[in-house]
Protein backbone atom coordinates (compact mmCIF):
# COMPACT_ATOMS: atom_id res chain seq x y z
CA UNK A 1 0.00 0.00 0.00
CA UNK A 2 2.64 2.47 1.07
CA UNK A 3 4.88 1.69 -1.89
CA UNK A 4 1.96 2.22 -4.16
CA UNK A 5 1.16 5.69 -2.83
CA UNK A 6 4.81 6.66 -2.78
CA UNK A 7 5.32 5.69 -6.43
CA UNK A 8 2.16 7.60 -7.18
CA UNK A 9 3.52 10.67 -5.43
CA UNK A 10 6.83 10.27 -7.20
CA UNK A 11 5.09 10.10 -10.53
CA UNK A 12 3.08 13.18 -9.64
CA UNK A 13 6.24 15.04 -8.72
CA UNK A 14 7.94 13.98 -11.96
CA UNK A 15 4.97 15.11 -14.04
CA UNK A 16 4.86 18.41 -12.18
CA UNK A 17 8.54 19.11 -12.78
CA UNK A 18 8.31 18.18 -16.43
CA UNK A 19 5.28 20.40 -16.93
CA UNK A 20 7.15 23.32 -15.38
CA UNK A 21 10.16 22.63 -17.58
CA UNK A 22 8.00 22.56 -20.71
CA UNK A 23 6.22 25.79 -19.87
CA UNK A 24 9.31 27.63 -18.59
CA UNK A 25 10.52 28.83 -22.01
CA UNK A 26 7.20 30.62 -22.54
CA UNK A 27 7.52 32.37 -19.22
CA UNK A 28 11.14 33.30 -19.95
CA UNK A 29 10.22 34.67 -23.35
CA UNK A 30 7.54 36.91 -21.88
CA UNK A 31 9.69 37.99 -18.94
CA UNK A 32 12.61 38.89 -21.16
CA UNK A 33 10.37 40.76 -23.58
CA UNK A 34 9.27 43.06 -20.79
CA UNK A 35 12.68 43.80 -19.28
CA UNK A 36 15.36 46.23 -20.32
CA UNK A 37 18.82 45.24 -21.50
CA UNK A 38 20.45 46.11 -18.21
CA UNK A 39 18.05 43.95 -16.23
CA UNK A 40 18.49 41.09 -18.68
CA UNK A 41 22.26 40.98 -18.55
CA UNK A 42 22.56 41.66 -14.84
CA UNK A 43 24.00 38.75 -12.85
CA UNK A 44 21.16 39.14 -10.41
CA UNK A 45 18.13 37.01 -11.17
CA UNK A 46 14.71 38.62 -11.11
CA UNK A 47 11.57 36.60 -11.52
CA UNK A 48 9.56 39.38 -13.02
CA UNK A 49 10.58 42.86 -14.20
CA UNK A 50 10.01 45.56 -11.63
CA UNK A 51 9.20 47.94 -14.43
CA UNK A 52 7.24 46.76 -17.42
CA UNK A 53 8.88 47.82 -20.64
CA UNK A 54 5.94 47.60 -22.97
CA UNK A 55 7.76 49.95 -25.30
CA UNK A 56 9.83 46.96 -26.42
CA UNK A 57 6.81 45.91 -28.40
CA UNK A 58 6.09 49.28 -29.94
CA UNK A 59 9.77 49.71 -30.78
CA UNK A 60 9.59 46.43 -32.64
CA UNK A 61 7.01 47.78 -35.02
CA UNK A 62 8.63 51.15 -35.48
CA UNK A 63 12.08 49.73 -36.30
CA UNK A 64 12.37 50.33 -40.06
CA UNK A 65 15.03 47.64 -40.58
CA UNK A 66 12.81 44.86 -39.23
CA UNK A 67 9.68 45.29 -41.37
CA UNK A 68 7.84 43.51 -38.58
CA UNK A 69 4.28 44.58 -39.30
CA UNK A 70 4.62 43.80 -42.98
CA UNK A 71 6.24 40.46 -42.17
CA UNK A 72 3.42 39.53 -39.82
CA UNK A 73 0.90 40.56 -42.46
CA UNK A 74 2.67 38.41 -45.05
CA UNK A 75 2.70 35.42 -42.72
CA UNK A 76 -0.96 35.81 -41.93
CA UNK A 77 -1.83 36.08 -45.60
CA UNK A 78 0.32 33.12 -46.60
CA UNK A 79 -0.88 30.80 -43.84
CA UNK A 80 -4.43 32.09 -44.25
CA UNK A 81 -4.44 31.10 -47.92
CA UNK A 82 -2.32 27.96 -47.67
CA UNK A 83 -4.24 26.24 -44.88
CA UNK A 84 -7.74 26.21 -46.44
CA UNK A 85 -6.56 25.98 -50.04
CA UNK A 86 -4.13 23.11 -49.56
CA UNK A 87 -6.63 21.16 -47.47
CA UNK A 88 -9.42 21.65 -49.99
CA UNK A 89 -7.20 20.70 -52.93
CA UNK A 90 -6.11 17.55 -51.11
CA UNK A 91 -9.67 16.66 -50.21
CA UNK A 92 -10.89 17.05 -53.80
CA UNK A 93 -8.02 15.02 -55.19
CA UNK A 94 -8.42 12.41 -52.47
CA UNK A 95 -12.10 12.05 -53.29
CA UNK A 96 -11.47 11.70 -57.00
CA UNK A 97 -8.77 9.11 -56.44
CA UNK A 98 -10.92 7.14 -54.01
CA UNK A 99 -14.27 7.25 -55.76
CA UNK A 100 -14.33 8.20 -59.41
CA UNK A 101 -13.46 5.15 -61.47
CA UNK A 102 -11.53 6.40 -64.44
CA UNK A 103 -8.95 4.29 -66.23
CA UNK A 104 -5.39 5.01 -65.15
CA UNK A 105 -6.43 6.10 -61.70
CA UNK A 106 -4.02 3.65 -60.09
CA UNK A 107 -1.10 5.09 -62.04
CA UNK A 108 -2.02 8.62 -61.00
CA UNK A 109 -2.26 7.56 -57.39
CA UNK A 110 1.15 5.93 -57.64
CA UNK A 111 2.57 9.18 -59.05
CA UNK A 112 1.16 11.09 -56.08
CA UNK A 113 2.50 8.58 -53.57
CA UNK A 114 5.93 8.54 -55.22
CA UNK A 115 6.40 12.22 -54.42
CA UNK A 116 6.17 11.29 -50.75
CA UNK A 117 9.48 9.49 -51.05
CA UNK A 118 11.29 12.74 -51.73
CA UNK A 119 11.59 14.78 -48.56
CA UNK A 120 10.11 18.25 -48.85
CA UNK A 121 13.00 20.36 -47.72
CA UNK A 122 15.55 18.56 -49.87
CA UNK A 123 13.65 19.71 -52.93
CA UNK A 124 14.19 23.38 -52.19
CA UNK A 125 16.86 23.70 -54.89
CA UNK A 126 14.71 22.09 -57.61
CA UNK A 127 11.66 24.04 -56.50
CA UNK A 128 13.65 27.26 -56.49
CA UNK A 129 14.81 26.51 -60.01
CA UNK A 130 11.23 26.17 -61.24
CA UNK A 131 9.64 28.99 -59.24
CA UNK A 132 12.60 31.24 -60.01
CA UNK A 133 12.31 30.60 -63.73
CA UNK A 134 8.64 31.56 -63.57
CA UNK A 135 9.54 34.83 -61.89
CA UNK A 136 8.31 33.84 -58.47
CA UNK A 137 11.25 35.17 -56.45
CA UNK A 138 10.14 37.81 -53.93
CA UNK A 139 6.49 37.33 -54.84
CA UNK A 140 3.61 36.25 -52.71
CA UNK A 141 2.60 33.48 -55.11
CA UNK A 142 6.15 32.18 -55.12
CA UNK A 143 5.95 31.87 -51.36
CA UNK A 144 2.53 30.22 -51.42
CA UNK A 145 2.30 28.01 -54.52
CA UNK A 146 4.69 25.14 -53.70
CA UNK A 147 3.07 24.68 -50.31
CA UNK A 148 -0.40 24.16 -51.75
CA UNK A 149 0.23 20.64 -52.99
CA UNK A 150 0.51 18.15 -50.18
CA UNK A 151 0.60 14.54 -51.39
CA UNK A 152 0.46 13.24 -47.85
CA UNK A 153 -2.87 14.97 -47.21
CA UNK A 154 -4.17 13.54 -50.51
CA UNK A 155 -3.39 10.06 -49.26
CA UNK A 156 -5.09 10.70 -45.91
CA UNK A 157 -8.21 12.04 -47.61
CA UNK A 158 -8.26 9.14 -50.05
CA UNK A 159 -8.22 6.65 -47.20
CA UNK A 160 -10.95 8.65 -45.49
CA UNK A 161 -13.23 8.67 -48.53
CA UNK A 162 -12.61 5.00 -49.24
CA UNK A 163 -14.25 4.24 -45.92
CA UNK A 164 -17.07 6.65 -46.53
CA UNK A 165 -20.40 4.73 -46.59
CA UNK A 166 -21.63 4.31 -50.16
CA UNK A 167 -25.30 4.31 -49.11
CA UNK A 168 -25.25 8.02 -48.43
CA UNK A 169 -23.90 8.67 -51.89
CA UNK A 170 -26.55 6.42 -53.42
CA UNK A 171 -29.19 8.67 -51.94
CA UNK A 172 -27.54 11.72 -53.45
CA UNK A 173 -27.29 9.98 -56.78
CA UNK A 174 -31.01 9.32 -56.77
CA UNK A 175 -31.49 13.03 -56.24
CA UNK A 176 -29.70 13.59 -59.50
CA UNK A 177 -26.24 14.54 -58.33
CA UNK A 178 -23.24 13.88 -60.55
CA UNK A 179 -19.75 13.05 -59.32
CA UNK A 180 -18.86 16.65 -58.66
CA UNK A 181 -22.19 17.26 -56.92
CA UNK A 182 -21.72 14.18 -54.77
CA UNK A 183 -18.36 15.47 -53.65
CA UNK A 184 -19.46 19.03 -53.04
CA UNK A 185 -22.86 18.33 -51.49
CA UNK A 186 -22.24 15.11 -49.59
CA UNK A 187 -18.64 14.02 -49.20
CA UNK A 188 -17.09 17.42 -48.53
CA UNK A 189 -19.57 18.55 -45.87
CA UNK A 190 -19.20 15.28 -44.02
CA UNK A 191 -15.43 15.59 -43.82
CA UNK A 192 -15.54 18.71 -41.68
CA UNK A 193 -13.52 17.31 -38.79
CA UNK A 194 -10.85 16.03 -41.15
CA UNK A 195 -10.67 19.39 -42.95
CA UNK A 196 -10.36 21.21 -39.65
CA UNK A 197 -7.63 18.89 -38.35
CA UNK A 198 -5.46 18.93 -41.42
CA UNK A 199 -6.20 22.61 -42.00
CA UNK A 200 -5.03 23.53 -38.51
CA UNK A 201 -1.83 21.53 -39.00
CA UNK A 202 -1.27 23.16 -42.38
CA UNK A 203 -1.68 26.58 -40.79
CA UNK A 204 0.94 25.78 -38.15
CA UNK A 205 3.36 24.40 -40.73
CA UNK A 206 2.88 27.35 -43.01
CA UNK A 207 3.25 29.92 -40.25
CA UNK A 208 6.42 28.29 -38.93
CA UNK A 209 7.97 27.52 -42.32
CA UNK A 210 11.51 28.78 -42.53
CA UNK A 211 13.67 27.33 -45.30
CA UNK A 212 11.41 28.08 -48.26
CA UNK A 213 10.56 31.67 -47.22
CA UNK A 214 14.29 32.20 -46.63
CA UNK A 215 15.07 30.96 -50.13
CA UNK A 216 12.36 32.72 -52.08
CA UNK A 217 11.65 35.86 -50.03
CA UNK A 218 14.94 37.62 -50.37
CA UNK A 219 13.58 41.15 -50.40
CA UNK A 220 12.40 42.58 -47.04
CA UNK A 221 8.99 43.30 -48.55
CA UNK A 222 8.39 39.56 -48.89
CA UNK A 223 9.79 38.52 -45.54
CA UNK A 224 7.62 36.38 -43.31
CA UNK A 225 7.50 36.77 -39.52
CA UNK A 226 10.02 33.93 -39.11
CA UNK A 227 12.46 35.49 -41.55
CA UNK A 228 12.18 38.91 -39.91
CA UNK A 229 12.86 37.36 -36.51
CA UNK A 230 15.72 35.28 -37.81
CA UNK A 231 17.31 38.29 -39.52
CA UNK A 232 17.05 40.13 -36.22
CA UNK A 233 18.56 37.15 -34.38
CA UNK A 234 21.46 36.65 -36.75
CA UNK A 235 22.25 40.34 -37.22
CA UNK A 236 25.06 42.06 -35.40
CA UNK A 237 23.01 44.47 -33.34
CA UNK A 238 22.29 43.48 -29.80
CA UNK A 239 18.81 44.30 -28.63
CA UNK A 240 17.90 41.40 -26.41
CA UNK A 241 14.55 42.59 -25.06
CA UNK A 242 13.50 43.51 -28.59
CA UNK A 243 14.40 40.04 -29.80
CA UNK A 244 12.26 38.39 -27.16
CA UNK A 245 9.42 40.80 -27.85
CA UNK A 246 9.74 39.71 -31.49
CA UNK A 247 9.54 36.08 -30.50
CA UNK A 248 6.42 36.72 -28.43
CA UNK A 249 4.78 38.52 -31.31
CA UNK A 250 5.55 35.74 -33.79
CA UNK A 251 4.32 32.91 -31.60
CA UNK A 252 1.32 34.60 -29.97
CA UNK A 253 -1.07 34.07 -32.93
CA UNK A 254 -0.20 30.39 -33.10
CA UNK A 255 -0.51 29.79 -29.39
CA UNK A 256 -3.92 31.47 -29.48
CA UNK A 257 -5.01 29.37 -32.43
CA UNK A 258 -3.63 26.31 -30.73
CA UNK A 259 -5.72 26.83 -27.63
CA UNK A 260 -8.85 27.43 -29.69
CA UNK A 261 -8.46 24.61 -32.19
CA UNK A 262 -6.75 22.20 -29.86
CA UNK A 263 -9.14 19.34 -30.38
CA UNK A 264 -8.61 19.42 -34.13
CA UNK A 265 -4.86 19.73 -33.80
CA UNK A 266 -4.68 16.68 -31.58
CA UNK A 267 -6.92 14.75 -33.98
CA UNK A 268 -4.85 15.92 -36.92
CA UNK A 269 -1.62 14.71 -35.34
CA UNK A 270 -3.17 11.37 -34.47
CA UNK A 271 -4.54 10.78 -37.98
CA UNK A 272 -1.57 12.05 -39.93
CA UNK A 273 0.93 10.29 -37.74
CA UNK A 274 -0.70 6.92 -37.61
CA UNK A 275 -1.36 6.71 -41.29
CA UNK A 276 2.13 7.91 -42.10
Amino acid sequence: MTTRTSTGALRGLLIGLLTLAFLAPFYLMLRNALMDTRGLTSPEWTWWPTEMHWENFTALFSDPTLHMSQALGNSLLIAGITAPASTLLASAAGYALARIPVPGRGVLLALVVATLMIPGSVTFVPTFVVVGSMGGVNTLWGLIAPGLFNPFAVLLFRNFYLQFPAEIEEAGRLDGLGWFGLYRRIALPSSGAMLASLGALAFIDSWNAFLWPLVIGQDPSSWTAQIALSTFLTSQTINLPGLFAGAVVTIAPLVAMFLIAQRYIVEGIATSGLKG
Binding site: L214, L229, T250
Partner: protein, 330 residues
Protein backbone atom coordinates in the same frame (compact mmCIF):
# COMPACT_ATOMS: atom_id res chain seq x y z
CA UNK B 1 -29.84 12.77 -66.47
CA UNK B 2 -26.78 12.98 -64.39
CA UNK B 3 -28.04 10.28 -62.15
CA UNK B 4 -28.42 7.99 -65.10
CA UNK B 5 -24.90 8.21 -66.37
CA UNK B 6 -23.56 8.01 -62.87
CA UNK B 7 -25.14 4.68 -62.07
CA UNK B 8 -22.72 3.33 -64.63
CA UNK B 9 -20.18 3.13 -61.88
CA UNK B 10 -19.80 0.96 -58.86
CA UNK B 11 -23.27 -0.43 -58.58
CA UNK B 12 -23.87 -1.68 -62.06
CA UNK B 13 -20.37 -3.00 -62.00
CA UNK B 14 -21.22 -5.00 -58.94
CA UNK B 15 -24.51 -6.54 -59.91
CA UNK B 16 -23.97 -6.27 -63.62
CA UNK B 17 -27.68 -6.34 -64.40
CA UNK B 18 -28.95 -3.90 -67.00
CA UNK B 19 -32.30 -4.07 -65.24
CA UNK B 20 -30.84 -1.88 -62.53
CA UNK B 21 -30.86 0.93 -65.04
CA UNK B 22 -34.33 2.35 -65.23
CA UNK B 23 -34.26 3.71 -68.75
CA UNK B 24 -32.68 0.81 -70.52
CA UNK B 25 -30.11 1.46 -73.20
CA UNK B 26 -26.90 -0.48 -73.48
CA UNK B 27 -25.23 -1.05 -70.16
CA UNK B 28 -21.93 0.82 -70.27
CA UNK B 29 -18.98 -1.49 -70.09
CA UNK B 30 -15.90 -0.72 -68.06
CA UNK B 31 -13.82 0.17 -71.09
CA UNK B 32 -16.07 2.82 -72.44
CA UNK B 33 -14.82 6.21 -71.29
CA UNK B 34 -17.38 7.91 -69.14
CA UNK B 35 -17.05 11.54 -70.07
CA UNK B 36 -18.85 12.84 -67.01
CA UNK B 37 -16.66 10.81 -64.72
CA UNK B 38 -13.61 12.07 -66.56
CA UNK B 39 -14.74 15.67 -66.31
CA UNK B 40 -15.41 15.37 -62.58
CA UNK B 41 -12.11 13.62 -62.07
CA UNK B 42 -10.21 16.30 -63.95
CA UNK B 43 -12.00 19.05 -62.07
CA UNK B 44 -11.35 17.53 -58.64
CA UNK B 45 -7.96 15.91 -58.99
CA UNK B 46 -6.58 18.04 -61.82
CA UNK B 47 -5.28 21.00 -59.80
CA UNK B 48 -3.42 18.73 -57.40
CA UNK B 49 -1.96 16.56 -60.16
CA UNK B 50 -0.81 19.60 -62.14
CA UNK B 51 0.66 21.20 -59.02
CA UNK B 52 2.59 18.07 -58.07
CA UNK B 53 3.64 17.70 -61.68
CA UNK B 54 5.10 21.19 -61.84
CA UNK B 55 6.54 21.56 -58.34
CA UNK B 56 7.78 18.02 -57.91
CA UNK B 57 8.25 16.23 -61.23
CA UNK B 58 9.25 19.14 -63.46
CA UNK B 59 11.33 20.65 -60.66
CA UNK B 60 13.18 17.44 -59.99
CA UNK B 61 13.68 16.66 -63.66
CA UNK B 62 15.07 20.07 -64.43
CA UNK B 63 17.27 20.06 -61.37
CA UNK B 64 18.56 16.62 -62.31
CA UNK B 65 19.72 18.00 -65.65
CA UNK B 66 21.17 21.08 -63.92
CA UNK B 67 23.22 18.83 -61.66
CA UNK B 68 25.24 17.83 -64.74
CA UNK B 69 25.71 21.42 -65.84
CA UNK B 70 27.92 24.27 -64.87
CA UNK B 71 25.08 26.46 -63.69
CA UNK B 72 26.70 29.30 -61.85
CA UNK B 73 24.43 32.25 -61.17
CA UNK B 74 21.91 30.90 -63.66
CA UNK B 75 19.16 28.36 -63.60
CA UNK B 76 19.28 27.86 -67.36
CA UNK B 77 20.82 24.64 -68.57
CA UNK B 78 24.33 25.73 -69.42
CA UNK B 79 27.48 23.85 -70.27
CA UNK B 80 27.33 20.14 -69.75
CA UNK B 81 30.01 19.02 -67.31
CA UNK B 82 28.95 15.45 -66.66
CA UNK B 83 29.65 14.19 -63.19
CA UNK B 84 31.93 17.08 -62.23
CA UNK B 85 29.47 18.52 -59.74
CA UNK B 86 29.04 15.20 -57.99
CA UNK B 87 32.77 14.68 -57.92
CA UNK B 88 33.41 18.14 -56.55
CA UNK B 89 30.75 17.66 -53.92
CA UNK B 90 32.03 14.33 -52.68
CA UNK B 91 35.59 15.65 -52.59
CA UNK B 92 34.41 18.61 -50.55
CA UNK B 93 35.39 18.09 -46.96
CA UNK B 94 32.71 20.36 -45.52
CA UNK B 95 30.01 18.45 -47.38
CA UNK B 96 31.35 15.09 -46.28
CA UNK B 97 31.67 16.47 -42.77
CA UNK B 98 28.06 17.64 -42.87
CA UNK B 99 26.91 14.16 -43.88
CA UNK B 100 28.81 12.75 -40.92
CA UNK B 101 27.31 15.35 -38.62
CA UNK B 102 23.76 14.62 -39.70
CA UNK B 103 24.24 10.86 -39.26
CA UNK B 104 25.58 11.48 -35.77
CA UNK B 105 22.77 13.90 -35.00
CA UNK B 106 20.18 11.41 -36.21
CA UNK B 107 21.76 8.60 -34.24
CA UNK B 108 21.38 10.75 -31.12
CA UNK B 109 18.10 12.50 -31.60
CA UNK B 110 15.94 9.63 -32.87
CA UNK B 111 16.32 7.23 -29.91
CA UNK B 112 16.24 10.07 -27.38
CA UNK B 113 13.06 11.62 -28.82
CA UNK B 114 11.51 8.19 -29.12
CA UNK B 115 12.21 7.28 -25.51
CA UNK B 116 11.19 10.63 -24.06
CA UNK B 117 7.95 10.90 -26.01
CA UNK B 118 6.99 7.30 -25.16
CA UNK B 119 7.85 7.90 -21.51
CA UNK B 120 5.78 11.06 -21.42
CA UNK B 121 2.84 9.31 -23.05
CA UNK B 122 2.97 6.51 -20.47
CA UNK B 123 3.10 9.06 -17.67
CA UNK B 124 0.27 11.20 -18.99
CA UNK B 125 -1.87 8.19 -19.91
CA UNK B 126 -1.82 7.00 -16.28
CA UNK B 127 -3.07 10.31 -14.96
CA UNK B 128 -6.78 10.22 -14.19
CA UNK B 129 -7.67 13.85 -13.76
CA UNK B 130 -6.29 16.76 -15.69
CA UNK B 131 -4.95 14.66 -18.53
CA UNK B 132 -6.07 17.22 -21.09
CA UNK B 133 -4.25 20.01 -19.29
CA UNK B 134 -1.03 17.99 -19.18
CA UNK B 135 -1.33 17.08 -22.82
CA UNK B 136 -1.67 20.76 -23.66
CA UNK B 137 1.39 21.65 -21.59
CA UNK B 138 3.55 19.17 -23.48
CA UNK B 139 1.98 19.81 -26.85
CA UNK B 140 2.00 23.59 -26.91
CA UNK B 141 5.74 23.91 -27.69
CA UNK B 142 4.99 22.29 -31.07
CA UNK B 143 3.30 25.58 -31.98
CA UNK B 144 6.62 27.42 -31.60
CA UNK B 145 8.86 27.92 -34.60
CA UNK B 146 12.47 26.78 -34.61
CA UNK B 147 13.49 30.41 -34.99
CA UNK B 148 11.78 31.56 -31.80
CA UNK B 149 12.92 28.48 -29.89
CA UNK B 150 16.50 28.93 -31.11
CA UNK B 151 16.38 32.46 -29.79
CA UNK B 152 15.32 31.37 -26.32
CA UNK B 153 17.89 28.57 -26.25
CA UNK B 154 20.73 30.70 -27.56
CA UNK B 155 20.08 33.96 -25.78
CA UNK B 156 18.44 32.85 -22.57
CA UNK B 157 18.81 29.23 -21.50
CA UNK B 158 22.26 28.54 -22.90
CA UNK B 159 23.83 31.95 -23.19
CA UNK B 160 27.38 32.23 -21.91
CA UNK B 161 26.48 34.64 -19.11
CA UNK B 162 26.75 33.46 -15.51
CA UNK B 163 23.09 34.43 -15.10
CA UNK B 164 22.00 32.25 -18.02
CA UNK B 165 19.73 29.47 -16.83
CA UNK B 166 22.02 26.57 -17.71
CA UNK B 167 25.04 28.31 -16.23
CA UNK B 168 23.09 29.18 -13.12
CA UNK B 169 22.34 25.49 -12.70
CA UNK B 170 26.02 24.66 -13.14
CA UNK B 171 26.69 27.20 -10.43
CA UNK B 172 24.52 25.27 -7.98
CA UNK B 173 26.95 22.39 -8.36
CA UNK B 174 29.96 24.66 -8.04
CA UNK B 175 30.82 24.57 -11.74
CA UNK B 176 31.98 27.54 -13.75
CA UNK B 177 29.94 29.23 -16.41
CA UNK B 178 30.67 28.03 -19.95
CA UNK B 179 29.86 29.43 -23.39
CA UNK B 180 27.59 26.56 -24.42
CA UNK B 181 27.30 27.13 -28.13
CA UNK B 182 30.97 27.85 -28.73
CA UNK B 183 32.29 25.03 -26.55
CA UNK B 184 33.49 22.29 -28.85
CA UNK B 185 35.58 20.23 -26.42
CA UNK B 186 33.60 18.61 -25.00
CA UNK B 187 30.92 19.41 -27.61
CA UNK B 188 28.47 21.07 -25.24
CA UNK B 189 26.55 22.57 -28.16
CA UNK B 190 25.03 19.12 -28.61
CA UNK B 191 23.12 19.61 -25.39
CA UNK B 192 21.71 22.84 -26.81
CA UNK B 193 20.70 21.13 -30.07
CA UNK B 194 19.15 18.05 -28.51
CA UNK B 195 17.17 19.81 -25.79
CA UNK B 196 15.84 22.35 -28.27
CA UNK B 197 14.51 19.70 -30.61
CA UNK B 198 13.15 17.64 -27.75
CA UNK B 199 11.16 20.58 -26.46
CA UNK B 200 9.70 21.30 -29.88
CA UNK B 201 8.93 17.76 -31.00
CA UNK B 202 8.28 15.53 -28.04
CA UNK B 203 4.66 16.66 -27.59
CA UNK B 204 3.80 15.75 -31.18
CA UNK B 205 5.06 12.18 -30.84
CA UNK B 206 3.57 11.91 -27.36
CA UNK B 207 0.13 12.52 -28.86
CA UNK B 208 0.76 9.72 -31.37
CA UNK B 209 1.71 7.34 -28.58
CA UNK B 210 -1.29 8.43 -26.50
CA UNK B 211 -3.57 7.60 -29.42
CA UNK B 212 -1.88 4.22 -29.66
CA UNK B 213 -2.25 3.59 -25.94
CA UNK B 214 -5.94 4.43 -26.09
CA UNK B 215 -6.43 1.78 -28.72
CA UNK B 216 -5.23 -1.01 -26.45
CA UNK B 217 -8.28 -2.77 -25.01
CA UNK B 218 -8.54 -2.67 -21.24
CA UNK B 219 -9.37 -6.35 -20.84
CA UNK B 220 -5.94 -7.31 -22.17
CA UNK B 221 -4.46 -5.72 -19.09
CA UNK B 222 -7.11 -7.20 -16.85
CA UNK B 223 -6.36 -10.68 -18.14
CA UNK B 224 -2.66 -10.07 -17.61
CA UNK B 225 -3.32 -8.83 -14.08
CA UNK B 226 -5.18 -12.08 -13.35
CA UNK B 227 -2.09 -13.94 -14.49
CA UNK B 228 -0.11 -11.95 -11.98
CA UNK B 229 1.71 -9.66 -14.41
CA UNK B 230 3.07 -6.52 -12.79
CA UNK B 231 3.92 -3.05 -14.10
CA UNK B 232 7.20 -3.71 -15.85
CA UNK B 233 6.12 -7.02 -17.39
CA UNK B 234 2.88 -5.50 -18.59
CA UNK B 235 4.85 -2.78 -20.31
CA UNK B 236 7.22 -5.21 -22.00
CA UNK B 237 4.77 -7.94 -22.86
CA UNK B 238 1.65 -5.98 -23.71
CA UNK B 239 2.06 -2.26 -24.11
CA UNK B 240 5.17 -2.15 -26.25
CA UNK B 241 4.11 -4.93 -28.66
CA UNK B 242 0.68 -3.36 -29.02
CA UNK B 243 2.30 -0.03 -29.86
CA UNK B 244 4.34 -1.57 -32.64
CA UNK B 245 2.59 0.14 -35.54
CA UNK B 246 2.73 3.51 -33.83
CA UNK B 247 6.39 3.00 -32.99
CA UNK B 248 7.27 2.23 -36.58
CA UNK B 249 5.44 5.32 -37.82
CA UNK B 250 7.07 7.49 -35.17
CA UNK B 251 10.55 6.19 -36.02
CA UNK B 252 10.01 6.85 -39.70
CA UNK B 253 8.80 10.41 -39.10
CA UNK B 254 11.68 11.08 -36.72
CA UNK B 255 14.32 9.83 -39.14
CA UNK B 256 13.05 12.04 -41.92
CA UNK B 257 12.70 15.03 -39.60
CA UNK B 258 16.25 14.58 -38.30
CA UNK B 259 17.76 14.33 -41.77
CA UNK B 260 16.05 17.54 -42.80
CA UNK B 261 17.38 19.55 -39.86
CA UNK B 262 18.08 23.07 -40.97
CA UNK B 263 16.27 25.76 -38.99
CA UNK B 264 17.94 25.38 -35.62
CA UNK B 265 21.42 24.88 -37.06
CA UNK B 266 21.04 27.98 -39.17
CA UNK B 267 19.67 30.11 -36.34
CA UNK B 268 21.92 28.86 -33.57
CA UNK B 269 25.22 28.79 -35.35
CA UNK B 270 25.27 31.36 -38.12
CA UNK B 271 26.07 34.90 -37.16
CA UNK B 272 27.34 37.24 -34.59
CA UNK B 273 25.71 38.25 -31.35
CA UNK B 274 26.76 35.93 -28.56
CA UNK B 275 27.60 33.26 -31.11
CA UNK B 276 30.94 34.75 -32.02
CA UNK B 277 32.56 31.60 -33.31
CA UNK B 278 31.93 30.03 -36.65
CA UNK B 279 29.36 27.27 -36.89
CA UNK B 280 30.70 24.20 -35.18
CA UNK B 281 28.27 22.02 -37.08
CA UNK B 282 26.75 22.23 -40.50
CA UNK B 283 24.02 19.98 -41.74
CA UNK B 284 23.85 18.99 -45.40
CA UNK B 285 20.88 21.31 -45.86
CA UNK B 286 22.82 24.24 -44.45
CA UNK B 287 25.65 23.36 -46.81
CA UNK B 288 23.21 23.14 -49.71
CA UNK B 289 21.68 26.46 -48.77
CA UNK B 290 25.09 28.11 -48.76
CA UNK B 291 26.00 26.51 -52.07
CA UNK B 292 22.77 27.24 -53.90
CA UNK B 293 21.71 30.52 -52.33
CA UNK B 294 24.98 31.94 -51.04
CA UNK B 295 27.34 31.03 -53.88
CA UNK B 296 24.48 30.84 -56.42
CA UNK B 297 25.86 27.58 -57.75
CA UNK B 298 22.66 25.85 -58.73
CA UNK B 299 24.36 23.00 -60.57
CA UNK B 300 26.35 22.02 -57.51
CA UNK B 301 23.34 22.67 -55.28
CA UNK B 302 21.20 20.38 -57.42
CA UNK B 303 23.79 17.64 -57.22
CA UNK B 304 23.77 18.02 -53.45
CA UNK B 305 19.99 17.74 -53.37
CA UNK B 306 20.19 14.42 -55.19
CA UNK B 307 22.96 13.02 -53.01
CA UNK B 308 20.95 13.91 -49.92
CA UNK B 309 17.70 12.56 -51.35
CA UNK B 310 19.42 9.30 -52.25
CA UNK B 311 20.74 9.06 -48.70
CA UNK B 312 17.35 9.68 -47.11
CA UNK B 313 15.53 7.29 -49.43
CA UNK B 314 18.12 4.62 -48.72
CA UNK B 315 17.87 5.02 -44.97
CA UNK B 316 14.08 5.03 -45.13
CA UNK B 317 14.03 1.85 -47.23
CA UNK B 318 16.52 0.11 -44.95
CA UNK B 319 14.50 1.13 -41.93
CA UNK B 320 11.34 -0.11 -43.65
CA UNK B 321 12.98 -3.48 -44.19
CA UNK B 322 13.96 -3.83 -40.58
CA UNK B 323 10.77 -2.61 -39.01
CA UNK B 324 8.43 -4.04 -41.59
CA UNK B 325 6.94 -0.71 -42.52
CA UNK B 326 4.47 -0.96 -45.35
CA UNK B 327 2.92 -4.15 -44.07
CA UNK B 328 0.79 -2.14 -41.73
CA UNK B 329 -0.42 0.14 -44.46
CA UNK B 330 -4.16 0.45 -44.97
Amino acid sequence: MTALSDTSTPRSERDGSPAARPRGGPAPTRRRPDLRAWAAFALLAGPMLIGLGVFKYVAIGWSFLLSFCNAHGTIALGTWVGLDNYQQLLNDETFRGSLGQILLFTAFIVPVTFAVSLGLALLVHRVRRGRAVLRTAFLIPTAVSYVAASLVWKMCLFNGLPAGIANMMRGWFGMDAVPWIQTTEPPLYWIVLITLRLWLQVGFYMVLFLAGLQAIPRDVYEAAALDGATGWRKLRRITLPMLRNTSVAVLMLQFIAAFQAFDEFYNLFSSGLSGTGTAPVQTPLVHLYNTAMGAQNYGLGSAGAFVLTALIVTVTLIQGRFTGFGKGEE
